[in-house]
Symmetry: C2
Subunit: 409 residues, 2 copies
């Protein structure tokens, strides 16, 4: 059997590998970007399911995208200050499918896509079939995309099909763009006719006041990507795009090739849950829980790591970016961490688009799936793994581990 | 915004358009290939849902494909005489996604795909992004693929990436391949190193004894495509491929780009239903119901159409292929049928790969979604629409309508 160049050229995903090893019993996993399964509104969804299944066909048939769900999503997005018509919403099987569809819609041979130097790997995977050239823009781990560098590249003639960005609760960096930066970004988009794909997967999980979405500031310049995965349940596989209405038809045709429908059952469940009016309370609970975990992660980093380590302080989302001293390569560190300390994280290298000059000593800590009472111990394990890693290599200990968290070894 | 050549070249799907118009109140629709929503095992699925949601994370989290579901599917496929290991099963979001993934896996620039002259349109849509050259093989509406013609093309040097076929309950033709033909097909596959993609979407919906699957006859020559859409519920979006184990990894990477996971919730529901042991009774009920409808369709065709019309007599599946006298073009006939008679079907032209010399007077009647008590009236409406169509064009009435079914007009 002869594989296509696309298939033959793919390399096994470290993330999938991690997903398997990190889910072993006893492992505290900051690895995969999951929400907490304990926080899923199972009782509300059970009630929604019973109601949907009660009369035939029970939401189980093929079907056109549910207009009622689109209306509910318009309401939901109003919480993000975003205003659009239901007819602009394109439902898809999770945000990932939305990104894949945007690739098929907008990219062809020779296309360019602009991304930050450190960017969500799922986006790069989504467009891999179109094999665009990735134009990377420097990004500051704590502040986000470098707008001077962006302007310079655009002024020099870069004309990407789009710029991909997570302005709020960046994955993996954990940072959010400030209001002034958003305004300048929109000015640049206007000046250089730049299309921005705004991924807002965690935008509703904010723990402090946030700036407006890029879409709400310049709907004509932005395609918005939303999802219920982080705020309701990933297994529903319900995501959406907000696009100019003229794009709904071509997107529908591309999606038909991919899987016909976004599960009408999942659409009905999501619609019933949103219609129940419980999302407000549910979001409040999620924010309280995840804010607590964020605070615990930040406190534990303060306790377990010394002044040579730096980390982000996210106001939104589920990710903290940790930079250790440069001697520590986080890929082999992960091996040590899993084997000796039973703790997992994502090496930052997964997210690095352009490897030149990027430190290899970075980690993404995804705290969404770690129960509050395990956060401190999990971070301590990472610190111990880092110290052991240094010791084994005869390096000076640059990761400071206070004596109240002695190494197990 | 600049669309890709793929997106810009797509034409609106007549099927989608039909789906909308055919679902209007009062329309009897033989148009879309749906199972009957009244036959979904809603109570069993409600019980399965309650059980799955009862404990966290309730099947609602991201996750790896469920090994338990693969084991149940192995059991299910044993009903098709098919034997494979769970590790050969690749779960996907419906069979359509399986076809799309096979396109990405096996096709590149300049690839060829072999299909019958009249073939399932979903397959052609699935591979449209790879834009393969379609090599069409003559097919007999009542007997299936012309094996002499196939041999001739292979002997002449045709080397497609694969031959796509629905050997049992063909969509749209309704025919099934005989045992001798299957044996000869496998011989040809062996002789010419031909890979066959066997789509068995309706293989478990058979009303008479059937021949073995191609996969069971030659697993090394065949990729099997299965789905729960027609026997459980389309909205679960659970389908699968049976492939050599070495293909699981590249398929997983391609799927990760497309939508990450097949809904773990749907996987859990399907697994719970299959584990409940209710599938046997459920299949028996489906076969009884759909056999009855098939018989009613065939009887109604006999009653309403004269000797100038011909149709298939399916032993499996949900489709009857109807050939009217050549003067009747089924595309404008559909307009008449919808507007005047409130009945819908799929014009055969949707399925024609190579339009040269194919009659345009063919119709696919999908009877799965038509309640038994509406079948006779539905077929009578099609006959009346055909007669009106002829009358309006001043043609001699070649569609025979017995006097007990007078035209409304």
């Amino acid at each position: 059997m002869h594989l296509s160049a696309l298939a033959a050229g793919m390399r096994p995903s470290l993330l999938r590998h991690l997903l398997a090893r990190a889910s072993a019993p006893g492992v505290i996993s900051f690895a995969v970007g999951v929400p907490d399964g304990e926080l899923f509104p199972r009782e509300d969804l059970a009630a929604a399911t019973a109601a949907v299944l009660a009369s035939p066909p029970g939401g189980l048939q093929y079907g056109v995208p549910l207009p009622a769900l689109k209306e509910r999503l318009v309401e939901l997005m109003s919480l993000r200050g975003l205003s659009c018509r239901p007819e602009q919403i394109f439902l898809c099987s999770g945000a990932q499918q939305g990104l894949k569809l945007l690739g098929e819609l907008l990219l062809g041979p020779g296309s360019h896509v602009m991304v930050e130097e450190v960017a969500y790997d799922g986006m790069r995977i989504a467009v891999s079939a179109e094999n665009p050239r990735l134009l990377s823009v420097p990004t500051d781990p704590w502040e986000g995309i470098d707008l001077d560098a962006l302007e310079e590249r655009l002024a020099a003639g870069a004309r990407p099909a789009f710029l991909y960005l997570i302005p709020e609760g960046h994955n993996p960096l954990g940072c959010s763009l400030g209001l002034a930066e958003r305004r300048r970004l929109i000015e640049l988009a206007d000046r250089f006719d730049l299309l921005i794909v705004e991924d807002d997967a965690c935008g509703l999980l904010h723990y402090e006041p946030v700036a407006p979405t890029l879409y709400s500031m310049a709907p004509e310049r932005v395609i918005y990507v939303g999802t219920l995965s982080k705020i309701l349940a990933p297994a529903l596989r319900v995501g959406w795009l907000v696009v100019p209405e003229a794009l709904i038809a071509p997107l529908s045709m591309l999606k038909q090739a991919m899987d016909f429908d976004t599960s009408t059952f999942a659409q009905h469940l999501a619609c019933a849950f949103l219609a129940s009016g419980r999302m407000g309370d549910h979001l409040a609970r999620l924010r309280d829980e995840y804010r607590l975990r964020r605070d615990l992660v930040l406190a534990a980093l303060e306790t377990n790591f010394g002044p040579n380590a730096r980390w982000s302080r996210p106001r939104s989302g589920l990710y903290v970016w940790l930079e250790l001293p440069g001697e520590i390569d986080s890929e082999p560190l992960l091996e040590t961490a899993l084997e000796v300390e039973k703790v997992a994280f994502c090496p930052g290298s997964i997210y690095v688009v352009d490897e030149v000059d990027r430190p290899r000593s970075t980690l993404r800590l995804s705290f969404g799936g770690v129960p509050a009472d395990l956060v401190e111990e999990g971070v301590a394990r990472i610190a111990r793994a880092a110290r052991r890693f240094e010791e084994e290599r005869g390096k000076e200990a640059v990761v400071c581990i206070p004596s109240r968290n002695p190494s197990k070894s």
